[in-house]
Amino acid sequence: MSETNVNAASRAARELPSDLQQVGVVAKYDIMKYLRSRRLLGMLIIEAIVLIAITALLATSNNPKTADGVVGQYAGFATILIVIGATLFGGDAIVSEYQGRTGYLLFPNPIKKVSIIVGKFISSVAAMVLILAIYYAIALVAGLVMGNGFSTLGLASLGLAILYGISALAVAFLISSFMKGTAGSLILTFALFFFVLDIISSIMGSLGGIKPWFLVNFAGTSLSYVTTDPYPVDTIQSLDIGAGQSMTFYYFYPDVGLSIAVMAVYAVVALVLAYLIFRRREMSA
């Protein structure tokens, strides 16, 4: 590279916004796109239905309740919201620029791919956090009213839910970075978190006796168990099925500390891979 090239490059760069400023611009307009499209609205409607259903069930049951118990009931359904949120806010984040041809408009601008992907990721995390914050705010208030106390474990559950949401979004970004079509990318993201990973972890855990601590969905279930006190421990049960034969059942529960680490690793690795694929991906269609 010649000396003049470097000089000219740094001169041009001085007049441009920094990479970080551009991240902010991308995030801002991406949030605007969520607000304008029906995705955020649709997500809020699903959330309202889930909240109403759980609240109605809790309010009509006469069992004595604790605050943690009440929030725990809500937390049990948070993973569903996270799966839908990851699909709607991340499932086509990158592929849509290619399939929808908007990349022809965006990519020829003086902006690095890293700023685009980070900006988009921040906006989808913001949407996810908004959804979860509303959900847990109502769950905690329900805990106050029906369980007569503030659920501190509920806050821990919110923290884990946000972390699980971020790692699921990162995996969704990764899927959308290599998939050719928007629909396929959305379906794959949803299927993966809705049942594929669950099937894998049950086969491993219940049948194989291998604790799937390294699977992100298994780590994610910690957001629900964390509301139970004491925290459940792994158990192995042997059941006599006659004729001198017995069957072994395994019940595994994620370790919270390890789960935090696993989710963080998934988030970072998936996002970095998504970036590397995005950076090399060509606008060819």
């Binding site: 003049t4 916004p17 929808g100 041809r101 022809y104 408009l105 990519f107 020829p108 601008n109 060509e282």
Partner: protein, 312 residues
């Protein structure tokens, strides 16, 4: 030469063994309007995609305003506006919002964005649609917004990939009006096209490519000057008869003769003004009452066709 706004050197692009751009070298000089001509599949869009950071190059280099676009795409594209293929827009944003988005990415101030947005939307006649969501716009309307965004930040270089493709005749006419307008301002413009009349009308320079290779480059006048074959169109008082055509075809220098109407015919002529004037005299000496005798606007076309034929 250093300082030229677009310099392409030995650029090559392979798609799984298929060479779409082959050792292409081309320089676009400051302030020129270059028509990048070639038939379908010649490699025009591929070249433009490499210039605009949409594709990576397999070999060679390309620089914009002296900055290598492969090594420093962000800096190289700072002063560039581009319309590649037919871009799509975010359907939920309006032209005003889309231009604000792109303007902010390019580092324009709020004031500059609102001032320039008005100007460019006016230029492409989209002012009344400024606050409507783009989702429902027609292809032609989107194409105009695409041209508007390319001019938004007053770049020094504008790169356009077949800006009139897919437009109806009126849309094409209007885009051509915009192009002539751009030509008056001091942009350097690189425009791909396969419409020869469009290029002949608005461009100052031409580069001809086929199968990824550069065939010829120069100013439009120079090339027309070199284009020794002209197509001549003649209208006469007399009606064309087989007998008449037969005797015209016997005139020395008349090639590819055909009747093009009741009392019109066309032919190709090799030569310059001298030969053209001579020919008129010969036609009149046959007893033809010539009403009009003109070079058809297809001179570039004949050059184009002959070059492309040769390169096959």
């Amino acid at each position: 030469m250093l300082g030229d706004p677009i310099v392409i050197q030995s650029l090559t692009k392979d798609f799984n063994g298929f060479r779409a751009v082959d050792d292409l070298s081309l320089t676009v000089r400051q302030g020129s309007f270059l028509g990048f001509l070639g038939p379908n599949g010649a490699g025009k869009t591929t070249t433009i995609k490499i210039l605009t950071n949409l594709l990576s190059a397999s070999g060679g280099s390309a620089s914009l305003n002296g900055i290598d676009v492969v090594q420093h795409p962000k800096e190289a594209l700072a002063q560039v506006g581009a319309v590649v293929e037919t871009p799509e827009f975010y359907p939920y944003l309006t032209p005003n919002e889309t231009l604000a988005y792109l303007g902010e990415i390019r580092g324009m101030s709020k004031e500059d964005i609102s001032r320039r947005t008005k100007v460019v939307l006016e230029t492409v006649k989209m002012t009344e649609w400024a606050d409507k969501r783009i989702g429902k716009f027609s292809k032609g309307m989107k194409q105009r917004v695409a041209i508007a965004q390319a001019m938004l930040h007053e770049p020094s270089v504008i790169i356009l990939d077949e800006p009139t493709s897919g437009l109806d005749p009126r849309g094409m006419y209007e885009v051509r009006e915009i192009l002539s307008e751009l030509k008056k301002q001091d942009y350097t413009i690189f425009m791909s096209s396969h419409l020869l009349n469009e290029v002949q009308e608005v461009c100052s320079d031409v580069a001809l490519i086929n199968r990824g290779r550069l065939l010829k480059t120069g100013s439009v006048e120079e090339l027309l000057e070199q284009a020794s074959v002209k197509r001549i169109e003649v209208r006469t008082i007399q009606q064309m008869s087989g007998e008449l055509l037969n005797s015209i075809s016997k005139i020395e220098g008349v090639q590819e003769l055909r009747a093009s109407g009741e009392n019109q015919f066309m032919f190709s002529l090799t030569g310059k003004d001298q030969e053209q004037a001579q020919m008129l005299l010969r036609l009149q000496s046959l007893g033809l009452n010539v009403v009009s005798y003109k070079e058809s606007g297809l001179a570039l076309e004949s050059l184009y066709m002959s070059l492309i034929k040769d390169s096959r």
